[in-house]
């Protein structure tokens, strides 16, 4: 039996045709409603660690697809960052800022404010944006052709007002 859910950008459908009156926008809490319910069910079925792993991988796939379908193609890194910034802002995902960029080491520190996933969440004492980690890793991998490991170090949920991610080339 073949795959049932293999991802394909066209699965997103033609929204202007399908939702002529409702339009492409949906309230953030509805997006979060689905995401946090998924989290809950996945955690109950597979445990916390596996649930996080699944979210990271889902983000990775989403990042690659986002890069391929929703971003302008660029050659140099700064233009790439600008393109990413404007794409994230245009789609209402969040405000991306680069804090440091070490091209030689392949290490980048970036922050995402007004983040779609976690901004405004209650204090939880742990980082929650695993999906975003995968998402950035997917995008960076698509641009550089190298595998990246992305870790959220500060999160709204840990009391920070911005989510901060450290991305490093994974040379294993």
């Amino acid at each position: 039996m073949g795959r049932k859910y293999e991802f394909n950008w066209s699965l997103l459908g033609d929204i202007s045709e399908g939702r002529p009156n409702m339009g492409p926008m949906v309230r953030t809490e509805i997006y979060r409603l689905m995401q946090f319910c998924f989290r809950d069910v996945l955690e109950q079925n597979y445990g916390t660690e596996t649930a996080d792993k699944m979210f990271y991988e889902a983000g990775l796939l989403a990042g690659k697809q986002f890069y391929r379908n929703a971003m302008q193609k660029t050659v140099d890194f700064n233009a790439f960052i600008q393109s990413l910034q404007s794409a994230l802002a245009a789609k209402g995902i969040g405000i991306l800022r680069i804090e440091t960029a070490d091209y030689e080491q392949g290490k980048y520190v970036m922050s995402l404010s007004e983040d779609l996933d976690c901004s405004g969440l209650p204090d939880l004492d742990y980082e929650i944006c695993v999906y975003d980690e995968g998402f950035f890793a997917g995008i960076l991998e698509s641009f550089t052709g190298e595998k990246f490991k992305v870790k959220e170090v500060d999160c709204w949920c840990t009391g920070d007002r911005t989510c901060r991610f450290v991305a490093e080339v994974s040379r294993e």
Partner: protein
């Protein structure tokens, strides 16, 4: 609450406050921290916040703070923003002016305005540099062109500053005058080996060039000696040089060799003068009633200055008849001869159909004829220096006051040569007044009657030149013996010849009338032959 507890709470609050207020930590803080673990944690967090905040205030963005929660989160957000700004600023410094700051209030606006301005300024600067480079390239190109022109033209281009120092002179100066630019550049014009500059810059030239409002060039012609001592004619075109703000900064000029043009002009002028004189005198020669006043007036009008009383000469040459080419050379020679004669003082010469006419002022005094022959000899000598290989004859006209007999006198001068060459073949200079009876016979010799008369009188002797010669000697009154000696013949032969002549002509040579008639016929024959 017990007063001791209330006191202790007060004290603890003060201790904690001092963490916020003073740099030094109170001594008792450690004591309380040991006593209350939660307070120790609080103090530790406060100190961590203090340290992190202090580092931020010092501009140290590298610190990490492990605290979580609202207050540390706000500080970390500030750190994240500042780090991002640092990164953006380094991008701007590297020339990426597309960086924009959003969501940071007034600062965003200020920063974005700065990058927009920087971008505009950089673009302006690039435009300015590009324009500057374009202008420099254009300047180099035009400089290269001017240099190419200056160095490759035969004209000499030069530039003087306002102190009359030669600032530039093109290398062609060496081709023109033999001096190199190095010999003149940097020197005032009075200290160069080029005196023509001083002629060019006479005060009148400078006045013309510096007169307000004039921008016309001044052209000056003058002669200059080359380094090899040769003289050449130069023409200089001079302009006042101005800088872009209209101030006079010196002079520019172009100097060229016009020797050929000058020569051509001079030849043209000579040809004009020659033609003018030829037409003037030949017109007079065609008239028989010249009036002195008229002639002098016409002369004045044409700037030909002739004397009222004059001696008149006619000059003829033995020239080879030839093809067109030699005709041309003959004409050239004739023109040169006429010009040469006209250069002589008190002399007017012109070309006629068969020779050259010459007049020179004279007075009817006793020695007039001798003076005329001397003048003719003088002309002869003058011409022979110029045409040493061409036989030249000069006939001098009879004298009469004024211009009334000009046409006749000119004919007579020519006749003097014609007769003279027959009668006195060893001379070259003849005077009409020496021609005696020929003066009367000459006009008659040109008529048909003359030819008829000659045939009638001596026609039968024409086939016998020796008899004609003998007849001439018999008519001169010489004896048979004398004639025989002259002709290397026996006197009896002469006697026989006399009889033969009388027989052929059917006359007696002893008759005075016959002798006169035959003598006339012989003289006429000579003149007719000369014609």
């Amino acid at each position: 609450m017990k007063p001791e507890i209330a006191n202790e709470i007060d004290e603890i609050i003060q201790q904690i406050n001092s963490v916020l207020q003073s740099k030094a930590l109170p001594a008792k803080l450690a004591e309380y921290s040991d006593q209350y673990p939660e307070m120790a944690k609080l103090v530790e967090r406060l100190l961590a916040l203090r340290e992190f905040t202090f580092a931020l205030s010092e501009g140290d963005l590298s610190q990490t703070m492990n605290l979580r929660g609202y207050w540390p989160g706000a500080l970390k957000a500030l750190q994240a923003n500042l780090r991002h700004l640092t990164w953006q600023t380094s991008m701007v410094a590297a020339g990426d002016y597309s960086q924009r700051v959003d969501f940071m209030g007034d600062f965003s606006h200020a920063f974005n305005t700065m990058t927009i301005r920087l971008k505009a300024a950089t673009e302006n600067e690039q435009k300015y540099i590009a324009e500057l480079e374009r202008q420099q390239a254009a300047t180099r190109e035009s400089e290269r062109k001017y240099r190419l022109i200056a160095e490759n033209t035969d004209d000499v281009i030069w530039l003087l500053d306002h102190e009359m120092v030669i600032r530039y002179i093109s290398p062609s100066i060496e081709r023109l005058l033999g001096f190199t630019p190095g010999e003149v550049e940097g020197k005032p014009i009075s200290q160069t080996p080029l005196p023509f500059f001083q002629v060019v810059f006479q005060s009148s030239t400078i006045e013309l060039l510096t007169a307000a409002g004039t921008r016309r060039p001044v052209i000056v012609e003058c002669e200059q000696r080359c380094k090899d001592r040769k003289m050449i004619w130069l023409e200089s075109t001079v302009n006042a040089a101005q800088n872009s703000s209209g101030e006079m900064i010196g002079f520019t000029g172009v100097t060229r060799n016009i020797t050929k043009r000058k020569k051509a002009e001079s030849l043209l002028y000579q040809a004009y003068e020659r033609t003018k004189k030829r037409d003037f005198f030949n017109q007079l020669a065609a008239r028989n009633d010249c009036n002195d006043t008229e002639v002098l007036e016409w002369g004045w009008r044409d700037k030909i200055y002739v004397p009222k009383d004059f001696s008149l000469f006619f000059l003829s040459m033995d020239t080879l008849p030839g093809d067109e080419d030699s005709m041309y050379r003959k004409q050239q020679m004739m023109d040169a001869l006429v010009d040469q004669l006209n250069r002589k003082e008190r002399t007017n010469a012109w070309e006629t159909a068969r020779g050259v006419g010459i007049i020179t002022p004279a007075l009817a005094d006793a020695a007039r004829k001798q003076k005329e022959l001397a003048a003719a000899a003088d002309y002869m000598k003058y011409i022979s220096m110029y045409l040493p290989d061409t036989p030249v004859y000069i006939g001098t006209a009879n004298y009469s006051d004024g211009w009334a007999n000009f046409a006749n006198r000119l004919k007579n001068a020519a006749t003097a040569i014609r007769i003279g060459r027959q009668v006195w073949p060893h001379q070259r200079i003849y005077h009409y007044e020496d021609c005696g009876i020929y003066q009367v016979l000459a006009p008659f010799a040109a008529t048909d009657e003359a030819a008829a008369y000659i045939t009638q009188r001596i026609g039968p002797l024409m086939a016998h030149p020796d008899l004609l010669e003998t007849l001439e000697k018999l008519l001169s009154g010489l004896s048979f013996k004398e004639i025989g000696a002259q002709m290397y013949l026996h006197h009896k032969t002469i006697q026989l010849r006399k009889q033969r002549i009388e027989q052929l002509l059917n006359v007696s040579l002893d008759s005075y009338e016959v002798r006169m008639a035959l003598s006339s016929a012989l003289q006429l024959m000579k003149i007719v032959k000369a014609n």
